[in-house]
Amino acid sequence: MCPDVDMVLRTLGAHPELVRRRRSSALGVAEQAIAAGRSLLAPVVVTERFQVREFRHERLRVGHGHLSGPLVAEHLHAARCVVLAICSIGPALEEAASQCFAEDPALALGLDAFGSAAVDLLGQAMCQMVDERANAEGERTTVPLSPGLVGWPVASGQRQIFALLDAGPAGVRLTDGYMMLPKKSTSMAIGVGANVEHAGDSCDYCSMAATCRYREEHISHHG
């Protein structure tokens, strides 16, 4: 689970082919970040599957809590169960990035991008595991939903997920502003069931979809 150079470049908003054609120093920065950051990754995931007890008025009752909001209603209303997950790569990499900014800001930025790509990969691996299990059981999965996507505000979404899932074993905690620490962490909910739909991509529901440079690079990479 280690991002490659192209992934780091795309996270930096750079086009790998153009970078190579121009012999841009961004390539060296990405390579250096991978070499320096690889040993600092400490990936961890906490996850739990919850049976859906009831769906009413945009509110899904699961376990001893609930998930609610327009996005939750749109995607999870037909779910038989919901898988919640919190993924993190630990604090070491982001601490290293902050510490080296004064000395080498380009490397700090490279490390930050490497960390973002790594936690993204970890989230994708998590989704793949959920997909495989669902497929084996003859079911399907929804697109992974994260707090902060349009229709699921950060504050309420994080409160709901962290109330249901013990993030302690992952070493992840929420600040008063509902930011996850370590920063390179992600939380998600995936619906599972025979009648759920996998509509689009998480990026389609992001409030920054129109302006996100990472998304531009991601789309051009995947065609």
Binding site: A26, P105, A106, L109, G110, G148, D176, M179, S207, M208
Partner: protein, 210 residues
């Protein structure tokens, strides 16, 4: 002058040692510190900003250039003080209360410093009182960033506090960060919004000119 061109090129190419050496060379030849700053270094960083905005270079290259600028500035600073060359303006910068994302803020601070501004880096998770204190200490611009929708609302809290402290007319306030938009900046009463570090430099120049 060839030396100024070489200094400018060294900044653009991100060659920190060459840039610092060119400054020393220029000073030894009797070139004024202010000339080296404006016509060599700031001109180089302005070109870097243009290249970035044209999509010719990427953020890491912009940072490498800014680092070269900083190296040259370290050599030049005592001479600027000696000559009484004033900075382009004093900017207090920080992330809003509750927000701990420092990379973007650091990048903007570095680009502003490289463009001749005096930077008061207030760090991350900055309460309104610290911005107020910075204004009382002479900051002409307050630059705030936030990466989360939950923390960006504290920009408005800070602006209100600055207004209530009777300081709003003394300062220009600019904002930025992933969830921020021009319309949000207008809504909370900021003087401007920048979508990246390069445009932040242009914005600060614009708001100070008003």
């Amino acid at each position: 002058m060839a030396l100024l061109d070489e200094l400018r090129e060294a900044v653009i190419d991100g060659q920190a040692r060459v840039a610092a050496a060119k400054v020393s060379e220029g000073l030894a030849e009797g070139v004024e510190a202010g000339t080296l700053l404006r016509e060599g270094m700031i001109a180089g960083m302005a070109q870097v900003g243009q290249l970035y905005e044209a999509g010719e270079i990427y953020v890491p290259e912009m940072l490498v250039a800014a680092r070269a600028m900083t190296a040259a500035l370290t050599v030049l600073k005592p001479h600027l003080v000696e000559e009484g060359v004033a900075s382009s303006g004093k900017v207090a910068i920080g992330t809003t209360q509750g927000d701990l994302h420092d990379i973007g803020k650091n990048l903007v601070a570095m680009m502003l410093e490289g463009s001749g501004y005096e930077i008061v880096d207030l760090g991350v998770d900055v309460p309104a009182e610290k911005f107020i204190e910075a204004i009382r200490n002479g900051a002409e611009v307050v630059a705030m960033s936030a990466l989360l929708t939950t923390t960006m609302t504290n920009m408005q809290v800070a602006i209100q506090a600055i207004t209530e402290a009777g300081l709003r007319d003394q300062v220009r306030i600019v904002v930025g960060g992933a969830p921020i938009t021009k319309s949000y900046a207008d809504e909370i009463g900021a003087d401007g919004y920048a979508e990246d570090a390069s445009s932040a430099v242009r914005l600060v120049k614009e708001v100070l000119a008003v």
